[in-house]
Subunit: 128 residues, 2 copies
Amino acid sequence: MEAASGEDVCVKWSETLRVYHAASCELENELQARHGLGLSEFEVLQILSRCCGEGGGQAKMKDIEAEMYLSQSALSRTVTRLEKAGLVTRAACEFDRRANFLMLTPTGQERFDAAKPTHRGVLVKHLA
Amino acid sequence: MEAASGEDVCVKWSETLRVYHAASCELENELQARHGLGLSEFEVLQILSRCCGEGGGQAKMKDIEAEMYLSQSALSRTVTRLEKAGLVTRAACEFDRRANFLMLTPTGQERFDAAKPTHRGVLVKHLA
DNA sequence: TGACATCCAATGCACGCGCATGTAAATTCG
DNA sequence: CGAATTTACATGCGCGTGCATTGGATGTCA
């Protein structure tokens, strides 16, 4: 039965690879072409948007890192890109000046809302 | 039902992300630590090994490219690394001198056979 | 046959990533 | 309190990837 389960995992893995690559490549391309966003940039916006409803979405770097499959350094640079693009602002935390709060700017919220259908469309196409 | 299917794909996608990242990171780390192989390098050896049984596994670059989720340039460099490591040899094709044949060296076959259990073990761990 | 399109593989280049390290702030403990 | 440890984030660095281009070989067609 070990051998049988071994066969299963290979098939399962190649299926996972197929779906993952197809979807993530098209996500990357579509988001970049239509909205000028990389996939991990979109994902940061998504977390920020979900994390704190409408008001003024804000979250700590560490919390975002915990929700993403991205190293601390990669997240830091991704946020830098988003900040330069004016989609996000960093704000020092009053009570722990090591930590940063991230906030969506209005423009950031707009761009995210605009990109959301593109994102969902690609997922439906590849996972439905 | 569109909305419902939309919800489904999000869950499905985050599940795919979770499994893919966990497995591919551990594959990368384990193969590197135990056998000095990157994941895409292992995958090339795997295709070569499967592609032509024992005799002297050989396949065209294009055929390998078609079986992998890797660009032509990335494959070219991956093969260069394998060649430098002595695990693979390039041989010009007699009938079409644009094409290259790839062949596993004995050392390459050995290294692949040694790494195979590591690879399968990680997959079982994450997909069983 | 000669001009042009197509195909295969290699390479220049820019980019995003992870690892290791640096800096500053907070926490722990003698 | 003060030194050592830990935590949060930024940054230097090397690496693997994809895109665009190049060079060489093949195919096509008038």
